[in-house]
């Protein structure tokens, strides 16, 4: 089966149009990043606290925002995640006093997180706690184990482990009825009903990065990226020619610019996994570029005397089937991640979807033209021999 016989589309005829389009997108990207929205740095890069919580009963973003606004934390970003309507991601956005020391800031972020959790809880559980009951949705395994051990000597640890395992699988225990199906003795369940209560929420995760580590992570991410680009440049320059290396770098610079700017339009945050995503896009795009360059290298031997532009056009056409098939499968993979991968991986998958499409374009319309322009600029015109 074949999509088409080797096509002969004159891709490079439109190279100036393509360059103009590229230029415009990049310009829009630069403007977007510098003037308008800017890139939203996530918690990994020293920007506050990220909380993920799960509620016992479904709620919506507005209700949570109202709760937070009532304690003066209305600026927090609230996002519903998952399909149950019970999971939320909250990013504390209140400005924290930056005059204080490093530790003050970290602690201020942490205090903010505590405040958010307290606000969401409200009065829930206060009466029960006052009566000496334990919140089964926040208690740790050790404490629960020693609590159960007192009343059921010898079976405390095992029962506690069952309860906690159930809580971990479900995220939160919404009802004591759930506990009947996990192999607890009826008297243990009864004991839990009398001595514990089910708090309104559990904290799924909580991440705070201080400014120092944030700056450090930022620096290292940039450093790692730059060095890996230099490594690629050198290898491609050695295996092909310098201009091909330069073109590859141009191409992936464009990849990074365009994907991050589209990404920034969507209000998503940049965290370390996103950096990995950008690098993945760069990897695919470089892969595409090299496949075409490889074909150009080969065709130059076969099509002696032909202009480079023509050789490139033929090579792009010859590899077009492969480019589309490969990008298609990648798109398939990433699509699966986007739809099934869950919240944590969703931003990453979105970035990849954008990047896969963009990568095909940049390979065809940036890498080859750059080689051509570079040669025009730096290679002296050969005098034709008679």
């Amino acid at each position: 089966m074949q999509f088409f016989k080797t096509p002969s589309i004159k891709f490079l005829k439109y190279k100036y149009v393509a360059l103009a389009v590229t230029g415009l997108i990049v310009l829009a990207g630069v403007l977007n990043v510098t003037v308008f929205k800017g890139l939203k740095l996530g918690v990994d890069f020293g920007e506050g606290t990220l909380l993920r919580i799960m509620l016992k009963a479904p709620s919506d973003e507005g209700a949570i925002r109202d709760l937070l606004a009532s304690v003066g934390l209305g600026k927090s970003l609230v996002q519903r995640t998952g399909v149950s309507g019970r999971e939320f991601q909250i990013r504390a956005m209140e400005t924290v006093n930056t005059k204080g020391s490093e530790e003050d800031q970290l602690e201020a972020h942490e205090a903010l997180a505590d405040k958010i959790i307290a606000a969401l809880r409200g009065d829930d559980g206060k009466a029960e706690l006052a009566r000496g009951l334990v919140d089964l949705n926040t208690v740790d395994e050790r404490t629960l184990s020693s609590l159960l051990e007192k009343s059921f000597p010898g079976s405390g640890p095992e029962a506690a482990q069952r309860v906690i395992a159930h809580r971990n699988a479900a995220g939160i225990i919404a009802d004591f009825g759930e506990l009947s199906g996990i192999g607890l003795k009826p008297e243990v369940t009864a004991f839990l009903q009398n001595n514990t209560f089910l708090g309104k929420l559990t904290v799924l995760s909580r991440e705070t990065v201080g400014p120092q580590v944030g700056a450090d992570l930022r620096r290292k991410a940039v450093q790692a990226t730059v060095w890996s680009l230099i490594g690629m440049l050198i290898y491609i320059a050695l295996r092909f020619k310098l201009e091909y290396g330069v073109a590859a770098i141009f191409t992936l610079a464009q990849d990074v610019l365009i994907t991050t700017s589209i990404y920034s339009f969507t209000n998503r945050e940049i965290n370390l996994p996103i950096i990995a995503g950008i690098l993945t896009i760069v990897g695919f795009s470089t892969n595409d570029t090299i496949v075409i360059f490889d074909r150009v290298r080969e065709n130059q031997k076969i099509m002696r005397g032909k202009a480079l532009e023509e050789v490139m056009n033929v090579s792009i056409n010859q590899t077009l089937g492969r480019t589309l098939i490969t990008s298609g499968t990648v798109f398939l993979t990433v699509g699966a991640l986007y739809f099934f991968g869950g919240e944590v991986i969703n931003d990453f998958a979105f970035l990849m979807l954008v990047g896969t499409i963009e990568g095909v374009y940049s390979t065809i319309y940036l890498s080859c033209p750059v080689v051509l322009f570079w040669q025009k600029l730096f290679k002296p015109k050969k005098v034709r021999r008679r």
């Binding site: 971990n168 799924l204 580590v213 790692a224 690629m232 996994p273 993945t280 470089t286 990453f348």
Partner: protein
Amino acid sequence: MKKNLQWKVILALVVIGGAIILAYPFNDTKIKRGLDLKGGIHLVLQVITDDSINMETDQEIARLEELFKKNGITFQKAIKDGLGRISVQGVLADEEGKTRDLFGQYFRDWDESFTGDRATLALKPLVIQLLRDQAVVQAKETIQNRIDQFGVAEPLIQRQGSDKIVVELPGVDNPDRVKELIKVTAVLEWKLVKAGPAPDEATLLQATNGQLPEDAEILKGDPKRGQGGFYLVNKVAVVTGKDLRTVRRTQDEWNNPAVSFTLNTDGGARFEQVTGDNIGKQIAIILDKKVQSAPGIESKIMRTQGGIIRGRFTVAEADDLIVVLKAGALPAGIKYLEERTIGPALGADSVRQGLVAGLVAILAVMLFMVFFYRLSGLNAVVALILNVVILFGALAYFKATLTLPGIAGIILAIGMSVDANVLIFERIKEESALGKGVASSISLGFSRAFSAIFDSNLTTIISAIFLFQFGTGPIRGYAVTLTISLVANLFTAVFISHLLFDLTVKKTAKRLSI
């Protein structure tokens, strides 16, 4: 079968068999999951190494005063004068030589200088460096001890850079308790009480006309232990945490959790003497400059007798105090730079969803390959599965950790693995379109596609190696899985796939299912 082919089959079987043995049975002990997939606590903390230099300076000042007195050198006072600097004031001009001799003999780690009646000692930069380094090493050991005592499975405690320590505790579900356990300096001291408790400092100093006696200091009670108010205590401790021999959880006379202790010979003797001399007075038990309790001394406490520390502890608090006392005090204060708690529920969710997505993705790709390339596509599917098998074998072998970004690396590698097969198959099609026979199309397809596959894989491997070298946590995880899968890719997509063609397609075949 050709001999050449036999060896290839054996090599393929050995590699795949090896990978399966390494990764079997695919559980947690073999493939370590990162905190983002498993849940747990990730902490980055900084050791305040200045503390250890200040401590060294304080000790040296005490030693200096003693030596000056012993050698009959006149001086007014010796004070700390900045970080790692001691200034001795009021040294007589005709005793400068004697002072220099003394410094030369006893203070070799210090640079000395004289201006007027003042002698200044500055800790040598190299020694400062050494002290800082020791503080970090000791802090790391102490934290390791505390975590071990507390009991966490597979903790990871690593030094990072000059003064940072990374602590990763998988599966821990009580972050606040652990954070406190690590952070507490845990300097335990017993000091005689001169006055107190009093509601404020002024009341405390009424007896001495508002003057703080030179040999005393004012400490606050620990509100957590129900101790409000202030205490005036001796500067010099009777015994400290270093003199402890055993500590154990016990109950006080009201059945509240408490900590009992016994002292070593040396400390026991001092304790016996001081308690004997001070019956009726109070002795304060001080943890990190906060008074935990200040019981009255009712009788002489014999050296082997020991005692108990009480202060309205919960069981957990008493246990944690025992942990830190057993593990020893931190040589310097620490502060947190980064705190991440990933609940086990979120980790489990990520794994479940990641698994579903991964399976859907792989299945979709496989279906596509079989649909598009028919039997040859099946060939690619086998190569893809083997790639993942080898990856897991290698992850188990290198004891690498699988993280979310690591999964991103695998996706890129799977994409490139499929790409390698697509490149080859498209090339085979091209060659046969030019009228070449099946066997030669296959062999040309592989050899002509190889340079593109090799170059693109190697370029990406090179970039991954740099990422590993310069990157941090998550980015490293990405680089590791990517590198491994790409190396495996060169083996499966090229070598194994070719081998499969050789084994399944007859030399004389007229048509190829592609």
